[in-house]
């Protein structure tokens, strides 16, 4: 197991480096210039040239790449062109916010996806299953930005029970303990719902299909023949087998959640990496784009690594193939 993980981590490091290198050159190939916003009648071209020199933008792209790469390898993400602050500092402020949203929506995603899928499979073709199918397809077909706006309209404007934006109330500085936690949780409900539950519809369909396949297996009949209650048959014998193919989907869905977070963060004015990324791309803030890209790449690879590990833990046949037993 340890060797398997080590090998995967080393492979992943190489992969991350390749992703970042490609991003670097693509950014420089793309039209646009980080200095474009200084083109102003009051700023002389000489000043802009001087700034260009200070940021190292006047050197050949290859040289810029090596300077950036050398810093990056030492853990120095560079300085944001736009904010004139170390990128590391900016990330340290925004990553926890994005993680809070992602973890909450991932939890909702897994919980709703697996539970609804299993319940549907167990009561196949029942009224519950049919209703579930219709609702799932409906939610699955709705673009998340539209769903977000509709929910804001309903819960924030009409009913006024949930905040429409930001991570906490303006007066939250005076709160602590449980009131602060509740305030933050209230702000989390709508964005996490849009991000997590809406995608859960897809996961539930996979889980339902996988579960229905497993419920046809001979060993399920064996479990029933032992006299096990239906609850144990479903939750112990069927679930673990049905979860094996679904774990792959879970690993692949992490990038989708992160990608969705960009839009959802923008709509809900969530001070996370998504909003930062969008701004950085508009202003060609290369160091920020690269650093955010790095974080996302690591998360995606981590998601896949977790999925592969989960796969091996759930299915003993995989580990014995790895160790050649």
């Amino acid at each position: 197991m340890a060797a398997f993980l080590l090998r995967r981590i080393l492979q992943s490091l190489v992969l991350v480096w390749i992703v970042l290198t490609i991003t670097f050159f693509l950014l420089h190939l793309a039209p646009g210039d980080p200095m474009a916003r200084y083109e102003h009648p009051d700023i002389s071209p000489e000043t802009v040239m001087k700034m260009r020199g200070q940021l190292g933008l006047d050197r050949p792209v290859i040289e810029q790449y090596f300077i950036w790469a050398a810093g990056f390898a030492r853990g120095d993400f560079g300085v944001s062109f736009r904010y004139n602050r170390p990128v590391g500092e900016i990330l340290a402020e925004t990553i926890p916010n994005t993680l809070r949203l992602t973890v909450a929506s991932m939890a909702l995603y897994v919980l709703f996806g697996l539970a609804l899928g299993m319940m549907s499979a167990a009561r196949r073709y029942s009224a519950f299953d049919r209703l579930n199918t219709i609702v799932a397809l409906f939610v699955y077909s709705i673009p998340s930005f539209w769903l977000a706006l509709m929910l804001i309209m309903l819960f924030s404007l009409k009913l006024g029970i949930l905040p429409s934006s930001h991570m906490q109330s303006l007066d939250s500085a005076s709160m602590s303990g449980i009131p602060l936690f509740l305030d933050r949780a209230r702000h989390l409900v709508l964005p996490a719902f849009v991000l997590g539950v809406a995608s859960a519809a897809g996961l539930a369909r996979y889980m339902r299909g996988s579960m229905i396949d497993v419920l046809r297996e001979d060993y399920i009949r064996t479990a029933r023949a032992k006299g096990l209650p239906e609850r144990s048959v479903l939750l112990k014998h069927a679930f673990r087998n049905a979860a094996i193919p679904v774990v792959t989907i879970l690993g692949m869905s992490l990038p989708f959640l992160l990608g969705g977070a960009v839009i959802v963060e923008k709509i809900f004015s969530w001070p996370g990496m998504g909003g930062l990324m969008v701004e950085a791309i508009y202003t060609r803030d290369y160091p920020v784009v690269l650093a955010v890209n790095f974080v996302v790449a690591v998360m995606v690879i981590l998601g896949n690594l977790l999925a592969d590990t989960g796969y091996a833990v759930l299915d003993p046949r995989i580990m014995s193939k790895e160790t050649g037993r």
């Binding site: 297996e217 001979d218 060993y219 009949r221 064996t222 479990a223 029933r224 023949a225 032992k226 006299g227 096990l228 209650p229 014998h237 673990r240 087998n241 094996i244 759930l314 299915d315 003993p316 046949r317 014995s320 037993r325």
Partner: protein
């Protein structure tokens, strides 16, 4: 002999697009305490469905038990609430299936799958049930049972897996073991070992056995009494010796004739002409009439009841009408 199980008029239907097909059509026979009854017939004659019906393991949809009773200890198993029926399964009646390769759950160790049954019915703790499970593995002559306990099914051969299934089935000392083609899926040399093992365990534990097979040689070796099924119905019942010396139904005669005999040279082995009828399109009159070599006009008009031409014998054939009733 004291009766353990009395099956009467058992009827199981499968819903198809063309209507309800009676896979088991009014089947009735007894199983005495400590007796081994062979249930014989071609593939698709309803043997396995009969076994699953006794344990109420026929999955609905598409299957459904529509009539009949199975009396055990003065209770009708067909009318028992599901919760009480679960206490019968694996405890009073257990079953060994045909496919050892797919009947064990691939993600749990073999030992755990036996232990679970013991813990469920015998109200034992984890350690105690584990010891009992190891003892069961030893009983079915799996070498090195403490080590094999932690093996997953894919780490065992077909024969070993069938031993695990037998250990699981016998772990709560059932009074009836249903063995559904227990050796059919195995290599010939392993088949003999499994039959040998079942004979030995039956001797030691004294339970009744319902042995389902299409292999008359296995029946001759193990059974005290034989029930022959054709197209969902019982066509003949007889003690083992008299069945072989004096079959009383043309179908049974056909089955006997198609066994190759040692020291006999034949150009072609005699076969029963035609195929088993589709349960949705049974011939009028006797269900064997379209393939029978001894057919008389009455056979095409009226279905014969079970006649009793001699003590302890039953035959569903008009040719036996009125003889020694």
């Amino acid at each position: 002999m004291e009766k353990l199980l009395e099956i009467r008029g058992l009827t199981t239907e499968f819903v198809t697009s063309e209507g309800a097909a009676k896979a088991v059509d009014g089947v009735g026979f007894d199983i005495g305490a400590g007796e081994t009854v062979g249930l014989v017939g071609e593939s698709g004659c309803g043997k396995s469905v009969t076994a699953l019906s006794i344990m109420r393991l026929v999955q609905y949809p598409p299957g459904r038990i529509t009539a009949g009773s199975v009396m055990m200890d003065g209770r009708d198993l067909m009318k028992l609430p599901e919760k009480q029926m679960r206490r019968v399964r694996g405890n009073d009646i257990s079953i060994v299936f045909q496919e050892p390769l797919t009947s064990l759950n691939p993600v749990f160790t073999c030992g755990e799958q036996i232990r679970e049954t013991i813990a469920l019915h015998q109200k034992m703790g984890r350690r105690e049930s584990r010891l009992k499970a190891v003892e069961m593995l030893r009983l079915v002559r799996i070498p090195d049972p403490e080590k094999r306990y932690d093996n997953y099914p894919h780490q065992m051969s077909g024969g070993m897996r069938q031993r695990v299934m037998i250990a699981m089935a016998l772990s709560c000392q059932p009074r009836l073991l249903i063995a559904d083609e227990p050796s059919t899926a195995l290599d010939v040399s392993v088949q003999a070992q499994i039959i040998e093992l079942l004979l030995d365990l039956k001797e030691r534990m004294g339970m009744s056995v319902l042995l389902i097979t299409h292999d008359l040689a296995v029946v001759a070796q193990m059974a005290d009494r034989v029930v022959v099924m054709y197209a969902g119905a019982v066509v003949e019942e007889a003690p083992i010796d008299s069945l072989f010396s004096d079959p009383m139904h043309p179908y049974t005669e056909g089955l006997m004739a198609s066994i190759p005999k040692l020291g006999e040279r034949l150009e072609r082995l005699p076969v029963i002409p035609g195929n088993v009828p589709d349960p949705l399109r049974l011939p009028s009159g006797c269900r064997f009439s379209d393939r029978c070599t001894k057919r008389i006009p009455k056979c095409l008009i009226e279905e014969p009841p079970l006649f009793s031409p001699a003590a302890g014998r039953l035959s569903r054939c008009w040719l036996r009408e009125g003889i020694g009733r």
